[in-house]
């Protein structure tokens, strides 16, 4: 098995790993880096449980080869809070009961962070619902997820903790 080197910054930590060229980014993150907060829920890019940020844009990491992330910055759910300081979306999912089994939650939070609030800090309910269309949740019926995103938007939280440093 031949390997190639990838250099990726994961949640601000620079890494270099020798990997199989066909390794998917989700498996790189989970099995090589050891960050298991991003999940796998399908094999057809439908569920969004694997959603991470790739250079600040949301990406379904089951649909990206790890080598395609070479040189990129990856943010996973583990990078959304620092030292117990939760991201406003994490706080809002908690306070609004936006999760049940929690399996879809990391993907939902990253999707909401990147594609929704980063682009549109004050989305309507309809915009939130369409923004989350690519992320499936079987537990919540989405009602409280929508409320959580609305609350996070009201609390002004669009970006990961690392980027919010120095922001009051």
């Amino acid at each position: 098995m031949s390997t190639v080197n990838v250099r990726v910054s994961v949640n601000g930590e620079a890494r270099e790993d020798a990997i199989e060229p066909r390794l998917l980014l989700i498996h790189y993150l989970r099995d090589v880096v050891g960050l298991t907060g991003s999940h796998v829920g399908c094999d057809t890019s439908n569920c969004g449980a694997c959603t991470v940020l790739l250079d600040g844009e949301s990406a379904k990491s089951c649909t990206v080869l790890a080598v395609q992330a070479d040189g990129a910055e990856v943010t996973t759910i583990e990078g959304m809070s620092t030292d117990g300081d939760l991201h406003p979306l994490q706080e809002a999912f908690w306070s609004e009961h936006g999760l049940q089994c929690g399996y879809c939650t990391p993907g939902m939070i990253l999707m909401a962070a990147a594609d929704l609030l980063a682009r549109n800090p004050d989305p309507t309910e309809d915009e939130i619902r369409h923004g989350l269309e690519g992320n499936l949740c079987r537990c919540t019926g989405y009602h409280n997820i929508v409320k959580a995103v609305q609350k996070a938007a009201a609390d002004g939280g669009a970006r990961p903790a690392a980027e919010r440093e120095g922001v009051a």
Binding site: M1, E20, R22, L23, H27, R30, D31, L35, T36, G37, S38, H39, V40, G41, C42, D43, T44, N46, C47, A49, T76, I77, E78, M80, S81, L86, Q90, F93, W94, S95, H97, L99, Q100, C101, G102, Y103, C104, T105, P106, I109, E125, I128, R129, H130, L132, E133, G134, N135, L136, C137, R138, C139, T140, G141, Y142, H143, N144, I145, V146, K147
Partner: protein, 804 residues
């Protein structure tokens, strides 16, 4: 009947506190089965049948075995088991044809996805590559896919040895159905299909086993660790105490993980054989094919009523497509609906007959609601048909037929005792939120503009709190098990507490609600009460989580154990404060002497004395502060509610959109209102999904058409509205908490409300019924057939892009 709690006011029960389990899930530190690794771990991939029905003529594993990193390739003969996965229902006096269901198939395959070989190796991708190199040759046989055709003479047989495709027939009857129908002013007949669906938890199944020379430890994404240990100990031939089963964080179940699966036996057998940890994680494609499906019933219903709308009798003949195998409850699941066959209505007579059919599909079994959504669907669809037939308001027909509030506890013609109910209460509350006149005005205005809006109701009751063992056990309905729940409550010397529960959650929030229940009885804050579950080596013997049972059975067990701890704490407190135990009260979180508020102790002080007894403590008080309780309920509990659905139908495309949903549910006393709402939201969407989008489809050759989330259309946020929910609290007299259950209620309520709403929308076009799922194609075909007299071309093909 009012339920009573024996401890003063609830301080924590009833509050919408945020969940204790959430910090790990929102930070990515939850631990699901695929998040676990062990040194030396191997991966397992499964070679599965692409054929629906075939004889295996040869299996060549040589190329796979030579693949780099492959440690072993096994076929059925290499992995002997004591037996297959058993079905645990043996109804007294009823013959059930139970087929073999071995973890690996030999001889013949009976459905797509049947496992025929396993490949074990060090690399996750490598075992998949190698599995593709296992060469299996099949000689196809005719596939049986239509359950009604399967029961006809001359049908090809799924299991030739039985000489029939009929699995069993089970009947139950109460009252004089013939007399009831004869005395009716109107008798309606209808065929109603409740199609096959999937649980589709976002986490697929997964199983991870290790063997240490003495004990197998199986970590599995399961709802039922204790039951799985019991079943697998038989399959594997290992004593139960030498098999430990752990349910870690589980990413949703919805019944699909209320089972013991062959793959769990396989990882255990392989780990034992190789002496190394073995992990198998199901792909979504495997999940769609070989995690059990649900529903799949055809109901032939005959219902009678008087001219004023009061119902008289109902007869239903149910054809149940059970697939090719029995999982642990397969044949029983349709019958689980029987206790609520009459819904909320005062029928004089009910007559049911269930006939199961083998087909070349995977097994059906429990999916959210398990038998009750099927039963409720046709009851509620028929109530709307009755209203139309009599030209009465559908809410009024329901109201006239409701079992009145003062009749509870109410015994149905089938001998089931509904514990408590106030159906008009939930209906009235729902109607007040809805504003029917406003809706009808708007409906008429929009129709004038060519927009079709419709309103559908569902007033349901369901049976949960599974289960009184005497009623459902071997000498009752015939399940070869008991259904109590257990709890151990331990107060630590520092005054924090741990609750061990036999229930095993997968999203329900047990860590929070169970802590609330215990905290009230211990005089503690829920913050310092931790809940441990899902490990057969920790805590007492449990019966796990399904059938909306965790609160009504598991919660009550915790309440009882915590009350016992409280009693002991009072005795210790009394001894130390020189008072009589009866004079100690727990109020505002402190134990104090009645009438002497200055003489009090906190639980932490009492616990300290329990573990390091001071001289003042009488020696007859045992050290320590923990108690265990097993609770077997005396009856089921019967939540109920009233839902309304408003849809908009695009008559040109057949597309249905749910624009409003009102749910007023009564699940007894509320422990955590936020979690109740969450269950209702998720449950309703599960029912909307079935009604509009979701369907497991096999083609005429038994090929699975919906093998992924591309074809199996789960509802997304974009298709749904926000929900308007409210509650009523009619306590259950069955348990001291007064609680019922709510995990399945929304699903049970939802599908008929959607169907009734669509029919209401399309009445001006002459459409009066459409079988689910109400995909654009089906709705459009129904409109075409009605308005142009063009008959829809049989069963429409599944929309290739899914139901949306």
């Amino acid at each position: 009947m009012e339920a009573t709690t024996t401890t003063g006011p609830n301080r924590h029960v009833g509050r919408a506190i945020r969940r204790k389990e959430d910090p790990r899930f929102i930070t990515g530190t939850g631990r699901y089965v695929d998040d676990l690794t062990l040194t030396g771990m191997l991966h397992m991939a499964i070679v599965r049948s692409p054929e629906a029905h075939a004889r295996i003529t040869s299996i060549d594993t040589s190329e796979a075995a030579a693949h780099p990193g492959v440690v072993a390739v096994y076929v059925a003969e290499d992995l002997p088991f004591e037996g297959g996965i058993p079905m645990v229902w043996a109804p007294p006096g009823v013959e059930v044809n139970a087929p073999d269901h071995m973890p690996l198939k030999s001889g013949e395959v009976k459905c797509v996805g049947d496992p025929v070989a396993v490949v074990i190796g060090s690399d996750k991708y490598g075992v998949v590559d190698a599995a593709e190199r296992v060469i299996v040759e099949y000689e196809p046989k005719p596939a049986v896919v239509d359950p009604e055709g399967a029961l006809e003479d001359g049908s090809p047989l799924v299991w030739e040895g039985f000489g029939t495709n009929k699995t069993h027939e089970w009947a139950v009857s109460g009252g004089d159905i013939d007399a009831a129908l004869a005395a009716s002013d109107v008798v309606l007949e209808h065929r109603i299909v409740n199609h096959r669906t999937a649980g589709a938890a976002i986490e697929t199944r997964g199983a991870f086993a290790e063997w240490n020379g003495h004990t197998i430890t199986l970590t599995s994404s399961t709802q039922i660790p204790h039951i799985t240990r019991f079943i697998l100990s038989g399959v594997l031939g290992i004593a139960e105490d030498r098999l430990r089963v752990i349910a870690p964080d589980v990413g949703g179940g919805f019944g699909s993980k209320l089972n013991t699966y062959g793959e769990e036996a396989l990882v255990c057998a392989v780990a034992r054989k190789l002496g190394r940890p073995v992990k198998w994680i199901e792909t979504r494609t495997e999940n769609m094919a070989y995690t059990h499906h649900g529903r799949d019933q055809i109901a032939y219903v005959t219902m009678g009523a008087r001219s004023d709308g009061r119902v008289t009798g109902v007869r239903a003949r149910l054809i149940c497509d059970l697939g090719a195998y029995f999982q642990i409850l397969t044949a029983f699941i349709p019958e689980l609906g029987f206790p609520v066959a009459g819904g909320c209505y005062a029928f004089d007579a009910i007559d049911l007959n269930f006939t199961g059919a083998f087909t070349n599909k995977f097994a059906t079994d429990a999916i959210r609601g398990a038998g009750r959504p099927e039963m409720t669907h046709w009851v509620e669809v028929m109530m709307d048909r009755l209203a139309r037939e009599l030209d009465l308001d559908p809410a009024e027909v329901r109201r006239r037929s409701f079992i009145p509030k003062e009749k509870f506890p109410y015994e149905t013609p089938l001998g089931i005792v509904y514990d408590s109910g106030d159906y008009e209460g939930t209906l009235d509350k729902m109607l007040a939120m809805l504003d029917v006149e406003g809706f009808r005005r708007e409906q008429a205005e929009l129709r004038a503009e060519g927009t079709y809006r419709g309103l559908g109701y569902s007033t349901y009751t369901e049976v949960c709190g599974l289960a009184p063992s005497r009623a459902v056990g071997p000498q009752g309905v015939g399940l070869q098990a008991a259904f109590y729940e257990s709890a151990t409550v331990r107060v630590h010397p520092t005054g924090s507490a741990t609750v061990y529960s036999g229930a095993s959650p997968h999203g329900q929030g047990h860590d929070t609600t169970f802590a609330q229940i215990a905290a009230d009885r211990l005089g503690l804050d829920p913050e310092v009460v931790d809940v441990i579950h899902g490990d057969t080596n920790t805590g007492p013997f449990g019966k796990n989580t399904y059938g909306s049972r965790s609160l009504a059975v598991g919660g009550e067990a915790i309440a009882i154990a915590a009350e016992r701890v409280q009693e002991k704490a009072k005795r210790i407190c009394a001894a130390l404060l020189e008072a009589a135990p009866d004079d100690i009260e727990l109020a505002d979180g402190t134990f104090r002497v009645l009438g002497q508020p200055d003489k009090s102790m906190a639980m932490a002080e009492i616990a300290g004395a329990a573990y390091i007894p001071p001289q003042e403590l009488p020696t007859e008080i045992e050290p320590g502060l923990e108690e265990t309780a097993f609770y077997d309920p005396e009856n089921f509990v019967f939540p109920f509610g009233a839902h309304a659905c408003v849809v908009e139908v695009d008559a040109d495309t057949g597309k249905v959109r749910v624009v409003r949903w009102i749910a007023v549910d009564d699940c007894g006393r509320a422990v955590n209102p936020a979690l109740i709402d969450g269950q209702v939201h998720g449950g309703v969407v599960h029912g909307i999904g079935q009604a509009l989008y979701e369907q497991v489809v096999y083609d005429a050759d038994g090929q699975l058409v919906t093998g992924s989330f591309v074809d199996y259309a789960l509802p997304t946020a974009a298709e749904l509205p926000s929900f308007e929910t409210d509650r009523q609290e009619t306590p259950s007299p069955v348990n001291s908490l007064g609680v019922k259950g709510v995990g399945e209620a929304g699903t049970i309520a939802a599908s008929p409300a959607v169907l009734n709403a669509v029919v209401d929308a399309l009445r001006p076009l002459g459409v009066d019924y459409i079988d689910m799922p109400l995909t654009p194609m089906r709705v459009w075909q129904a409109i075409e057939a009605s308005t142009r007299g063009v008959a829809p071309a049989g069963d429409p093909p599944p929309d290739s892009e899914g139901g949306r």
